[in-house]
């Protein structure tokens, strides 16, 4: 794949003039963007998160592994739990400020697909441009439960506090090298603000 030139990188001419300092367009990359945009199509895809994670684990998909409804909530010695992530315990790589899981599989699939359905044009534009889309949305009702660190921002020692949330953070990618372009969910998880 041809790469974008260094000169002028970071500048953009959105077609409104003023492009005298813009770099020479990389025709190959330009055609790839248009090609992905066409391949992704007008109709939003539908996702089943369990099947999505099975198919794209090697590409980084990890919703079920880190936020699936099957994860136990409270800390248990030697067990990967939602609360344990606040402390970087068994099964987790480090301590986080917030750790939440989906309440149930049907809510998880319904809210992901509702978001994709309602925002497909923007998602499609992002995926066509650089293969990646991320956003935070409010489902408008409880979708997840978990914990946040009451001691963050220097407020005190690390301490988990239970909470519920209607917020969801989502990341979507195109499988690298897929032709036609295949979108998948990298992760979608309840995101309490804490």
């Amino acid at each position: 794949m041809a790469r974008q030139g260094r000169a002028g990188a970071g500048q953009v001419d959105a077609g409104n003039g003023g492009g005298q300092h813009a770099p020479t367009p990389d025709e190959s990359r330009f055609q790839e963007i248009l090609r992905r945009h066409g391949q992704l199509g007008d109709e939003p895809p539908k996702f089943n998160i369990a099947a999505n994670d099975d198919a794209h684990g090697a590409d980084g998909a990890h919703t079920i592994d880190r936020h699936g409804p099957q994860l136990p909530l409270p800390r248990q010695p030697g067990v990967k739990t939602v609360e344990g992530r606040i402390f970087g315990e068994t099964g987790w790589g480090k301590a986080e400020s917030r750790s939440y899981k989906w309440t149930d599989p049907s809510t998880m699939n319904r809210e992901v697909n509702r978001y994709v359905q309602q925002n497909w044009q923007t998602i499609r534009d992002d995926l066509a441009f650089d293969g990646f889309h991320e956003n935070l949305f409010n489902a408008g009702h409880r979708v997840g439960q978990g914990y946040y660190n009451r001691g963050m921002y220097g407020a005190g020692p690390r301490q988990s506090e239970y909470g519920e949330t209607s917020l969801v953070r989502i990341r979507i990618r195109v499988v690298e090298g897929s032709d036609p372009a295949v979108p998948f969910i990298v992760t979608a998880f309840p995101a309490g603000l804490g």
Binding site: N16, I33, G93, S97, D125, G154
Partner: protein
């Protein structure tokens, strides 16, 4: 990058993201690549996946992060970026200075990924 031949919605989306203030671009970087990561290796892997397709927005993020780190910020801003937006605990130094160390590490990871692309 001359986007004049792209579909109108896509041009608008690119322009919208380019117009964000630096602090919002940094938040987008942290939300997209850091907030659910288990390690810096995972952050780099995700950045590389995007860079191999198109590093335009990653360059925007790096410029924004360099700007935020270089300019004075209101007290608590950097710490909130790390423990809030990046969801990354820094119990050993919960200060703006401690947060700046972490954010510089993110900037260097991003810089090296862009240099590879």
């Amino acid at each position: 990058m001359d986007t004049s031949g792209l579909p109108e919605s896509l041009r608008g989306r690119i322009a919208e993201r380019v117009a964000l203030p630096p602090i919002e671009k940094v938040r987008a970087l942290l939300h997209g690549y850091v907030a659910d990561a288990e390690s810096f290796d995972e952050i780099r892997a995700e950045l590389r996946r995007t860079a191999r397709t198109n590093d335009f927005h990653l360059r925007q993020y790096l410029d924004a992060l360099d700007t935020v780190l270089a300019e004075p910020q209101p007290p608590g801003t950097l710490l909130q970026l790390v423990e809030g937006d990046a969801n990354w605990g820094i119990d050993h130094d919960q200060t703006d200075s401690g947060a700046a160390v972490f954010l510089r590490e993110v900037a260097e990871a991003l810089r090296s990924v862009i240099a590879e692309s």
